[in-house]
């Protein structure tokens, strides 16, 4: 029966070419716009580390002074260096790392690099501690990360990205070679494999969808050499005397600028860790360091991304806009299908008169609507690919990520067919309500 109805639908399309083309085009436009924006949204809101996003937690404490305190407010976004180092020493999680971003000068001609004619350049860097690599499942092409012992002994070791290794060493195994960073010699211990967490969840204070940092250096060493840092820094208490020669990046500075992540493998451990943070805060207040009531947060990766509204507002707005547009296109299709089916009232009357059940008429109409949806979906897919191409030409750092994956491909057809079937429901219902007697009489 389905085949027969499909054949009837095709005949009907041939009879009303303009009207059919109009409906297919409307659905295709709606689907194209929705799938383009939805794909971008899907890429940007995805889980950057699905295998353990529920086991990685971001620590927030509230170390700021009494000034400007509003009860019920969120604690500071980042932690102080003092707190980060204290938590790191306590080692209460399965793994833990403190980190911040920055940039460093690289001098290729003074390193054991192949091309000696390359000018010095600046590269984004991350200053972190040993657990960063195993905790985030960072893949290595050559070598490994550094150890906690190397952190503690302030060893000048460096891990570089695949891209930097390609640039400096032609992609070969460069482990053990020396690299000149910020005017100092570093020993290369690892080269990363392909890794681009999207979004770059571990640091919300630099380009969230940007490329991976090129240089990774132990945090202790970055402070020894006073490497330049970037990202957000929040300071308070400038009335208090601070003799620290390191200034605002010193251990005792009243500034939050460090991201602190901890891995906790079970929910029970997470609860215990939260309690530990509460106790820690209480102790700090008892010691006179904290002035505000205890206010801690322990968010896992997806909660942390949600809290930061990581998907840009414009992208969310575009999704709403596209679905509003799709809705108008569907309303349009409902109206046109209604006109089309009712125009065939006499034909339907004859079929009913010859004994077709209402259900058969209903099915026939829905098959026709679904066929339009399928055609609209195919054309819509083309438009979505075109739309995504247009998105990739945009200046935003996430632009290069806008590609259709198999899931979204399937989604396109599901949305197109479901939408057109929904659009066909009302017209089909009205069509099978046609009273055969009146139609036959007026023939």
């Amino acid at each position: 029966m389905f085949g027969y109805y499909f054949d009837l639908a095709l005949r009907s399309f041939r009879r009303n070419k303009a009207l059919t083309a109009l409906m297919v085009l409307a659905i295709a436009l709606g689907i194209g716009a929705s799938m383009t924006t939805l794909t971008v949204f899907h890429v940007l809101s995805g889980d950057p580390i699905p295998q353990k996003s529920d086991k990685l937690f971001y620590v927030q404490l509230d170390p700021a002074g009494k000034d400007g305190y509003t009860p019920g407010e969120e604690p500071a976004d980042q932690v102080t260096r003092f707190d980060a180092e204290a938590l790191l020493r306590a080692k209460r999680g399965d793994r833990q790392a403190m980190m911040t971003g920055g940039s460093v000068g690289i001098e290729p001609q003074r390193a054991g690099a192949q091309s000696t004619s390359m000018d010095p350049f600046y590269a984004d860097s991350r200053y972190t501690t040993a657990d960063f690599f195993p905790m985030f499942d960072v893949p290595f092409a050559y070598g490994t990360g550094w150890s906690q012992a190397q952190d503690d002994s302030h060893e000048r070791v460096v891990v570089i990205s695949k891209a930097l290794n390609d640039k400096l060493f032609g992609g070969g195994n460069s482990v053990g070679k020396s690299l000149r960073v910020e005017g100092h010699d570093f020993r290369l211990v690892g080269v990363l494999g392909d890794w681009r967490p999207t979004p770059r969840f571990y640091d919300m204070y630099s380009d969230r969808y940007g490329e991976l940092e090129q240089v990774f250096v132990p945090f202790t060493v970055s402070r020894d050499l006073d490497m330049s840092r970037s990202g957000s820094m929040d300071c308070w208490d400038d009335h208090k005397d601070n003799d620290d020669p390191e200034g605002e990046t010193g251990v005792n500075a009243s500034c939050t600028w460090i991201q602190y992540w901890v891995e906790l493998d079970t929910p029970a451990k997470a609860d215990a860790y939260r309690q530990y943070l509460v106790n820690y805060s209480d102790q700090q207040r008892a010691a006179g360091r904290y002035e505000r009531p205890t206010n801690v947060r322990l968010r896992n990766v997806m909660q942390w991304l949600d809290f930061n509204k990581v998907v840009p507002g414009d992208v969310r707005l575009q999704v709403w806009l596209a679905f509003g547009f799709l809705l108008v296109c569907l309303l349009n299709t409902v109206g046109l299908l209604l006109a089309k089916f009712l125009r065939r009232s006499s034909e339907i009357g004859v079929r009913r008169g010859l004994g077709a059940a209402r259900r058969a008429i209903f099915a026939q109409c829905l098959v026709e609507a679904g066929a339009i949806g399928l055609a609209g979906g195919v054309l819509g897919l083309g438009l979505a690919l075109l739309g995504l191409w247009a998105v990739r030409q945009q200046p935003a750092s996430y632009a290069s990520l806008a590609h259709l994956d198999p899931l979204m491909l399937l989604m396109t057809f599901v949305v197109a067919i479901v939408a057109s079937l929904l659009a066909g429901l009302l017209p089909a219902w009205r069509a099978c309500e046609v009273a055969p007697a009146i139609q036959l009489k007026s023939q």
């Binding site: 400038d238 547009f325 409902v334 125009r343 200046p395």
Partner: protein
């Protein structure tokens, strides 16, 4: 024109009429809000920066490792830049407009105030800052060279140096001292001591969107002598805008020669006009996208109206013939369909207005947008009325062309 017969007919075609009304309402709501968003973005990208934008170029450079000689090098850098042919003036600063990273400091009126009055961005500028950027002093004076403080001294641990003066924007002056006459008054922001306002500039835009639309000109200039290691920004004003590229090239060369072992960040070294273009690129893309959506919506809605109106005309061919046979003119038939469309469009527009307002409420909550100004509603209404009339014209003319003889055929 009798409305009764039209209303009676519409009542008999409730579903189709409702569909048209709904489609118009939705389009109207989306278009009103899209137009509003477009207006909002246009306002943003056409903001006054206060800078002599088409005469400025920026060079950003950074040292490798620690440079103990940075202050002296900055002085000779500036002298060399100012000596270049075609250069009017040059200055060094911690931050430049149209580059998202910025320094900010909260401002209070008294020393012990708990909640800050506002958050302002901090430009660190020497006595050449105002002239190089082309800012317009509307009150007070520029910094004198003897009141400049070395950044190294003010940033040293436990520094107790009082800041002698500050220049702020008119926007910030009006916010801090609503009564006017901010000149000579003081506020607290950097350090423990009050800072006296010695000058007010007409405009100076904030580098970032921090502080929202209201705070986009909360800027202060502190008399700090920074070296190139603080932000690494040299701003150079040229005499002739057409020479910007040459000056840029010459500036990069002279800086490389003056202090080797430094890296010029070529991606960030360009004219201020280019920086502005990049800063607002996303907004411009969004404007075009919204315009495209509006046009697509209008087209789809128009096609929907054409489709349904054609169906109605075809369905009512016999009635039209009867009316013609009974003496109705072509004009009356034409006006019948036009009036019908006008009624449906009006209903759709009224619904659409309410919907537009609802969507705006949602956007206000989610994206910190202001309330939809009432002006967008009549604009949207007129657009859809016109659209409806244009779309129905074709089918209505076909209806008017139905010959009276149809009435006598095939009854």
């Amino acid at each position: 024109m009798e409305l009764r017969p039209i209303l009676t007919t519409l009542r008999r075609h409730k579903t189709a009429s409702a569909l048209i009304v709904l489609e118009i309402a939705l389009s109207c709501a989306i278009i009103c809000n899209a137009l509003f968003l477009i207006g909002d973005r246009i306002e943003r990208i056409s903001r006054t920066s206060g800078l002599a934008e088409n005469e400025l170029v920026r060079v950003q450079l950074t040292g490798i490792g620690k440079d103990d000689n940075a202050d002296a090098l900055t002085t000779t850098d500036l002298a060399a830049l100012r000596a270049l042919p075609g250069v009017k003036d040059a200055t060094v600063t911690n931050q430049v407009p149209f580059v998202s990273s910025s320094w900010n400091s909260s401002v209070t009126m008294t020393k012990d105030q708990q909640q800050p009055t506002l958050s302002s961005t901090v430009y660190m500028g020497n006595d050449h800052f105002i002239d190089t950027l082309g800012l317009k002093l509307v009150a007070g004076r520029n910094f004198s060279s003897d009141e400049l403080i070395d950044w190294k001294l003010i940033n040293a641990p436990n520094s107790k140096i009082a800041i002698p003066s500050v220049i702020i924007t008119r926007s910030m002056a009006d916010k801090l001292f609503p009564g006017g006459n901010a000149l000579g008054k003081s506020f607290y922001s950097w350090g423990d001591d009050p800072i006296r306002i010695v000058g007010i500039v007409d405009h100076l835009v904030r580098p970032s969107e921090q502080g929202g639309p209201a705070g986009h000109e909360y800027s202060m200039i502190l008399p700090f002598k920074v070296s190139y290691t603080v932000g690494g920004n040299y701003l150079i004003r040229v005499a002739d805008p057409s020479q910007r590229e040459q000056v840029l090239k010459a500036a990069v060369d002279v800086l490389k020669r003056n202090g080797p072992n430094r890296i010029v960040l070529t991606d960030n070294t360009k004219t201020v006009e280019a920086l502005r273009g990049e800063y607002y690129r996303q907004d411009r893309a969004m404007i075009w996208l919204l315009v495209a959506v509006c046009i697509a919506l209008l087209v789809v809605t128009a096609l929907g109206i054409v489709g349904l109106a054609s169906f109605w005309v075809q369905q009512r061919t016999k009635q039209i013939g009867v009316r013609r046979a009974l003496g109705a003119t072509r004009g009356q038939i034409l006006r019948y369909f036009q009036t019908e469309n006008f009624l449906l469009a009006t209903l759709g527009i009224v619904l659409g207005m309410m919907l537009a307002y609802g969507i705006n409420q949602m956007l206000m909550g989610k994206y910190e947008l202001p309330r939809l100004p009432a002006i967008y509603l009549p604009v949207g209404a007129v657009a859809l009325w016109l659209l409806g009339q244009l779309s129905v014209l074709g089918p209505a003319r076909r209806a008017a062309a139905v010959p009276p003889a149809v009435a006598t055929r095939s009854v």
